[in-house]
Amino acid sequence: MRASKAGALILAAAAASALTAACGSQQADVGTVRGAAQSATLPLATSLVTQAGQGWAVIQMGGSTARHDNFWELFFRPAGASAWKLATPPGVASNGGLVVAASPAGSSTASSSTAKSSTATGASLIAGFRPSQSLTFSPLAASTDQAKTWSQEALVDPGLANVPDSLAIGPNGEVAVLTDAGRAELAARLGASWSALTGLDALAKTGAGRACRLTALTAAAFTSGGAPLLAGACGKPGAVGIFVLDRGSWRAVGPVLPGALAHGRVMVLGLATASGRIIALLSVRRGRGTDILAAWSDDDASHWTMSAALRSGSARLVSQSLWPGGAAGLVLAGGLGETIAGPGAAWRALPPLPARTATLALGPAGQLQALTADSASFAAWQLGTGSAGWTRLQAAAVVIPYGSSG
């Protein structure tokens, strides 16, 4: 063979192998908390406290999510008690996730509510099961007697969105939901037929939606007066996507960010109304890092008070909880915990959280608790006075039905 032929063959081989190498070297994009797509995803782990002092917490337990060996569990703490007990509504697989909305049972005093809102009639707590495997709708279970019994008459079809505030109860028993299909729906009461409130596409086309370049819906709530509130992620830097349904049309009512944050992209992580106060948790993405802020409004979103920014860097959000008085607690990856007491307060970094903390919660007298889940083991830890450290209050084994959903 002549040298020129050999050279050409070698070049051809080099080109072929280079092409093959390039084909085989693609890297998967690994994201953290993202909400730019139509259906946003936020961690579902959370806790809440009712006006009567009852605590509820949603935690993922069990094993592999891919093998459907994960099970989302609901825990209940009676008023005045420190110990938690398992209260997951029976009859349906919880592998897809669990979302709850609460109101004080039988309460007619909206101003005293400490959950997302209160209701004069209907359930004190509604739990919604996210779709999983072949199940495409969300069964709902409601309880009026502190999880002793559940009624299962209603469902959401298509299923609830994968965000912790995809379910909300209004002061008069109305129920609002966000669905996987990017729609918001409203029922006059649990079990009544659903009517369309709006959808991501429709809301994005309104003046309010265009102004923020709405890209996702992330939370539903009600004002203390019972007007539906929706929140989402905005493509326009500095815009905060919170909207209220006002006389049949949607109006932007989000706060204005301080100058330093006005160039970041904002997603509402959580939204709730408690004791007439709206609290919103915002994530502001700037460059490679993320800031988290709390915003409060005592006049149904007309005016807002903003917290200082909490620089979370690239730490992944594990859980968020909104509590009475506008307090909030966050769990960030790496065992980090932060709380804020309400308007005017500063973020408080907690001592390193116990390993496998799923969410923060409040104890019977407002003490801070960390709830941990390790496979089938549940534990509640309490923060000592003076931030001395965490003391284990309770340890319990949960009978996880491994293999039941495979």
Binding site: S17, T88, A154, P401
Partner: protein, 605 residues
């Protein structure tokens, strides 16, 4: 039980027994064919005035061609025997083919999974076909030394090799990351194809040394390309350890050592994994240099370089075959000895062609009789031709028939769009034939109307129990009912498909309607999803042997999956265990076919 993971194991005894039976059955046909051909051939030679015409001088088969033909023939036979492993019929798609394609692009996965699904619809026929086709091709190659029949064997070998390379090896993984000569790239069977094409070449192409130079240069080019690929940075081959973890080569060797095999071999491969982890750079450097050096030597065409290059490459192939590829077929469901043996065969074949030179002329055997041939009828002429054929030609014909023995049942099976009933039988066992009055019930359908079993008299009722919020089994069962309804065609008008809620908690009609919508059951005019009070449901469950158990902590309701066929006069005639298994297209089709057959049986009786 829903969610209790009753899949279809590749060691399922029903499937293994059926596979063995098919192999024995077809094996007997193969032996009978051989006996018949042998008797006919001997008889023809004995009792007819067979003559052997003088063929004139013909070329002796070149040593290189003979080497490739017999070598790859033996490889095909070996591969065919590997295909006869008991778990192969059920396990090949999920245990071999689909994992091979898992890291390839989606279009490759679609292509391969399509073939896997086709296999899984008729696993017994497909498994047996793979055995006999490969044994047949191998025997054909070994038996047919020359002429068109031999060349056709080469062509068939290349064609089947291509099928295996695309669908069985997912293009040898060339579209997947981690491609490496050491791991078998670009797929062992591609070398079978190359050898088959060489064997299929006209005899005149073997009469010069040009062919051997082209083969060796082609191999040289391949080795150089593989050397560049092996040297490409960032692929983990230069490091024995990456971030404290074993590098690519060490990881591969470690995983191979963990497969079931004799301890001595496992220890050998494991030891090499340790060496690769410690001295990954040196090992990769040696591999790259050998591949590049040998490749360039083969491309050069100079015999003094080619011989040592082939020796060095053979050593590398042997070392890789033992230490990295772990003989290719040990552990799991091995289908071939991987790439190093075929590469070695091609190298030796190429060298033989170069060293031994073109074919020599072989003197023809003299004719047995020189008498003038009388005019004969066509059957007589065919019989005489058959009798005058050589033993090898007869064996080659038999081997071609073996290929057909394997391929024909599979081709016939593929003509049916329905999966074999053996799949559902393997999962749930056989149906029970019964004859007693079906227990009565009066419940509420998805539209709120009262429906009693008595009101369905005159129709065959297919009855099952479904949880409307079930995430796994019940939706599959509903789909199987839907598919059965389609299979029944016009006679579905004589059938009522009925499900009763099997969830003591979620039993409102809102849920039965949502389930119907989710599964597309609302479109079936003969579909009823019944519910009622807890007391009514419990009565129905008790009467039909259903146990619905609430599991704690977010578990799905556990209940038994069963279907009943109730005849038009209200008598229970068949009970089918109806755990839907893995929910694949084939299991779904198989269950639907089983249900359809049961309904048709009752309609006929």
């Amino acid at each position: 039980m829903p969610g209790m993971n009753s899949g279809l194991s590749d060691t399922n005894p029903t499937l293994i027994a059926a596979f063995r039976a098919a192999l024995v059955h077809q094996g007997l046909i193969v032996l009978a064919l051989l006996a018949l051909l042998g008797i006919a051939w001997i008889g023809t030679r004995e009792w007819l005035p067979v003559t052997r015409s003088a063929a004139g001088a013909r070329l002796a088969e070149p040593a290189a061609r003979r080497f490739l033909r017999i070598g790859f023939g033996i490889l095909w036979i070996f591969d065919g025997l590997l295909q006869a492993q008991p778990a192969m019929a059920a396990g090949l798609p999920s245990g071999v083919v689909e994992p091979t394609a898992a890291s390839s692009p989606v279009w490759v996965q679609h292509l391969v999974n399509w073939a896997g699904t086709a296999w899984s619809f008729h696993p017994i026929q497909a498994g047996a076909a793979a055995v006999w086709i490969q044994i047949g091709i191998g025997a054909w190659l070994v038996a047919a030394p020359a002429g068109p029949v031999s060349r056709l064997a080469g062509l068939v070998s290349a064609g089947w090799g291509l099928v295996v390379w695309v669908f069985g090896e997912a293009f040898g993984g060339i579209f997947a990351p981690g491609l490496s000569f050491l791991f078998g790239a670009p797929g062992a069977v591609l070398f079978y194809c190359a050898a088959g094409l060489l064997i299929a070449l006209p005899d005149r192409r073997w009469q010069t040394r040009q062919l051997s130079r082209q083969v060796l240069a082609g191999l040289g080019l391949f080795f150089v390309a593989m050397a560049i690929l092996q040297a490409w940075p960032g692929r983990g081959f230069w490091q024995g350890k990456v971030g404290g973890q074993a590098g690519t080569l060490a990881t591969m060797a470690k995983s191979m050592s963990g497969t079931p095999q004799p301890h001595l071999l496992s220890a050998l491969v494991s030891g090499f994994a340790s060496v690769a982890a410690a001295d990954g750079f040196v090992i990769n450097l040696v591999v790259v240099l050998v591949l590049a050096g040998a490749g360039l030597a083969l491309i050069s065409g100079q015999q003094r370089l080619i011989r040592p290059a082939i020796v060095v490459m053979l050593i590398l192939c042997l070392a890789d075959w033992v230490l990295v590829q772990d003989f290719g077929f040990l552990g799991g469901l091995g289908t071939d000895p991987n790439s190093m043996i075929p590469i070695a065969l091609l190298l030796i074949g190429g060298y033989l062609a170069l060293a031994r030179g073109p074919a020599t002329v072989q003197a023809a055997e003299p004719a047995r009789t020189g008498a003038a041939e009388p005019a004969r009828s066509l059957p007589s002429r065919l019989a005489l031709s058959f009798g005058s054929a050589s033993l090898r030609a007869v064996l080659a014909g038999w081997a071609a028939a073996v290929v057909l023995v394997g391929a024909a049942p599979m081709a016939l099976a593929q003509a049916s769009p329905t999966a074999d009933p053996i799949i559902s039988e393997a999962i749930d066992g056989s149906a029970a034939q019964l004859d007693f009055a079906a227990p009565a019930f009066t419940l509420t359908d998805q539209d709120g109307r009262a429906v009693s079993l008595a009101s369905l008299r005159g129709k065959v009722v297919l009855l099952t129990f479904l949880d409307p919020v079930c995430t796994s089994d019940c939706p599959l069962i509903a789909q199987e009912f839907r598919a059965a309804d389609q299979m029944l065609g016009a006679s579905s008008r004589r059938v009522e498909m009925v499900a009763i809620v099997a969830n003591p908690v979620y039993r409102a009609t809102a849920y039965t309607r949502a389930f119907d919508s989710q599964e597309g059951m609302a479109r079936l005019p003969n579909w009823l999803y019944l519910t009622g009070s807890l007391a009514q449901l419990r009565q129905a469950w008790r009467n039909y042997g259903i146990a619905a158990q609430i599991l704690p902590a977010g578990g799905m309701i556990a209940h038994n999956d069963v279907a009943y066929v109730i005849d038009a006069s209200g008598r229970t005639r068949t009970e089918l265990n109806f755990d839907p298994g893995p929910g694949t297209a084939s299991s779904e089709s198989s269950f639907a076919a089983e249900l359809t057959a049961a309904a048709q049986r009752v309609m006929r009786s």
